[in-house]
Symmetry: C4
């Protein structure tokens, strides 16, 4: 294998597509949101990216192995053509993050993408009933558009900047002429958070102009509500350790 090995199972013509990224991160918000789109719509795998910058690992699902990769699916049955970038891994080394982000932007190039949406979560440190969606973007025009659909732009948030592929899709994307934004759902940071993923998608569907149902995500949110209820009961009797809360789901 070379540094990158990119499969191209299909290259459909897309009309003015946007790229939507949802890789693992805080509360798995971005990943849940992107995967929800792939469940609700009829996606076609168009690119699969293998790289030595991913962890040296295969995942196992009912005995079948799969080499670490990222996938790009094309969705053409939404009101707007979408490219959805998902996967289980970030890069394992610093320069690898830059090179993977560049590889993803090459895919965006090939399909004529102009706007990029990176989806993720922003940790609040406590359980959030009605998560807001915090934004960051590469242009003032994009910020205005997103404010119109309810995204909040805050002075010093997220304080530590945006790290990993999401951040670099904006940073490197801007240098290559894309308009890019990151939509971050508020989330405790302790739990897998489908409610926050829904909040992000509700904003996204207005911004991008497509229509999607939330039943599956709602089910997962209700399961998590149960977990949250049990945690709140525990909090009333005794403060749970941070460990108890770490990514239950």
């Amino acid at each position: 294998m070379d540094e990158f090995d990119i499969e191209t199972p299909a290259t459909p013509d897309l009309e003015d597509p946007v790229l939507i990224e949802g890789l693992p991160g805080v509360g798995h918000v971005g990943k849940l949101a992107a995967e929800h789109l792939l469940e609700e719509f009829d996606g076609e795998l168009v690119r699969r990216v293998y790289s030595e910058h991913f962890p040296p690992q295969v995942t196992v699902d009912e005995g079948r192995t799969e080499l670490a990769s990222a996938e790009v699916h094309a969705i053409r049955d939404a009101d707007r053509d979408l490219l959805v970038l998902t996967g289980d891994h970030q890069a394992g080394d610093g320069p690898g993050h830059y090179r993977l982000a560049d590889a993803y932007l090459d895919v965006a190039d090939e399909f004529g993408v102009e706007r990029i949406y990176a989806l993720g979560g922003v940790p609040t440190g406590e359980l959030v009933d009605e998560p807001d969606v915090v934004g960051a973007a590469t242009t003032d025009g994009f910020i205005d558009d997103l404010e119109d659909v309810g995204v909040e732009f805050r002075e010093n948030e997220p304080a530590g900047g945006i790290v990993g592929v999401s951040g670099l899709l904006l940073g490197l994307g801007e240098r290559r002429g894309y308009e890019a934004a990151c939509l971050m759902g508020e989330t405790s940071g302790y739990l897998v958070d489908p409610k926050s993923a829904r909040a992000v998608l509700e904003v996204l569907q207005q911004a991008v102009d497509f229509d999607v149902g939330y039943d599956a995500l709602e089910d997962r949110a209700e399961e998590m509500e149960e977990v949250v209820k049990r945690i709140r009961q525990m909090e009333q009797s005794a403060a749970p350790s941070e460990e108890d809360l770490r990514y239950i789901g």
Copy 2:
């Protein structure tokens, strides 16, 4: 030295050989199993792989030093020709894992290998009397074959996937057209485990169709039984710390 330096002491003609990998890992199960084959059969060193991706280290045996390397031996006195990959080291960096696995697959290429067996252990967290062998493979056909000889394929196991060279022999191997499987003997994860290695080999010899004795491995297993007995006695009087258990052997 270049990135890789591969010695080729011999290149015998092999008939339909399978590649068997046993490098260091959980319970040293894979390494014990592969080394047992080299003790029981008459192996010929065919390749030695040096690389700057190995730790910067020589081992010392009675004063003689040996540079970190991996070895491939050909076995032709079993009922089936075998190539056995052994060594003391995994790669020291992420991309190095990918590149070493590729170097090993190049060797498999040269000898016309079609099927690859990566051997290892899967940690259970407790002492196991009769270890099962858990599997993962790149094709459904290979899974069927292995189920026939008693390998278990479980829904979410191993949960963290398969990491390191074993994982990549499957992941990269599949991309290069090999059928590859990982056979993982259940093992506590705390002790060097010859019994688990034997369980793996018993499955392997049925799958590959060769015949091997287990006396040497049996002796080592009995030594470990003694260690286990002492640990169980300790457990009855007082719980041993995890440190007491870590790789005694």
Copy 3:
């Protein structure tokens, strides 16, 4: 993006400029000092350096993102032409430090720089009322010049040498024919220290021969004095934990 991506918004003619570096480090002394020059004088951005050796990150300021970079500004309204190197990041990997320092020295080359001043802090472990400025330099002549303006050169200080870009601007700079010095203001190591930054600048302005006001830095120093006062009160009642002191500011 390649390993480096360097924007060149302007290339003004400078007369005998000196390069002044102030990147993040102990007490943020160097960064505060360099940024103060950019506030007081009329700087023009001449180079912006992007690199995969920076952390994979964008900063966010009121919603607008900016890819990790370092900036070089030219100042021509001081008594002496200055090039000021600032930024929010050190390299993320060892060879990356060398390569970034080389990239910065290339910029110094282009503008005909002969002397380089790296600014920073040296940790004392306790609050310092009147910080001295400790120096290190590549030539005895430069040491003499700096001793004349009050810089202290001590036998074994800093004991651990100078690490990161500051150190390499001296080490690599010397090999490329520059005279280079590091000016390190004494600082506790626990607090952002504008007073130490002022001490460094007061020495620098004599050495380089320019004139600058300190009102803005004075204001920040007074804010920190308040913090220090509260800490001293705390010290009288109870010793604060090291954590309480870590980079308050």
Copy 4:
């Protein structure tokens, strides 16, 4: 700077020189021993090796900075021509260790070296009154020669092999046709140990056939004896923590 930058201040003709390496390591035994040779004999700097694989750092000595490097001196006033490799740093990354060791072997090549001696310490965990010298070598002939001058070759020692440049001078050296040995003085591992360094040199001078005085090393050993005495007194009153003992000197 490229990956390596090697200065060649002199290239004297040497007669059958041996390479002696003494870089930082356990008890600083190798470094003390190699530096003692440079103090006692009249060495000439022949090569200075800079590399991005060293830590990004300058050392500071009375205000003068020096970029991380390794030095090779030629000694021609001993009974045997010597090349002595010293420095303050090991590599900062795994492949860097391999590449630096290769660069050092290139220097050995240029001067026609046939035998290499890597000097170091082997930790015993307790204070040693009369340190033995433990050996490891690339050939049985070399082992025989060293046994003749009192070097001990033990079955499983050092258990963890030999790590870093010392190990690779043997491992890579062997592959390039050198005979190479590592001489390791027993040492507690807690203290800088000039006595162990002397033990190593006494063996080395017999093996290589040169004559050297030990006054300077004796003085340092006596200073350390004082430290050891105080520690033994402390041990009688109360067991000192490991921290108290870590590299006092």
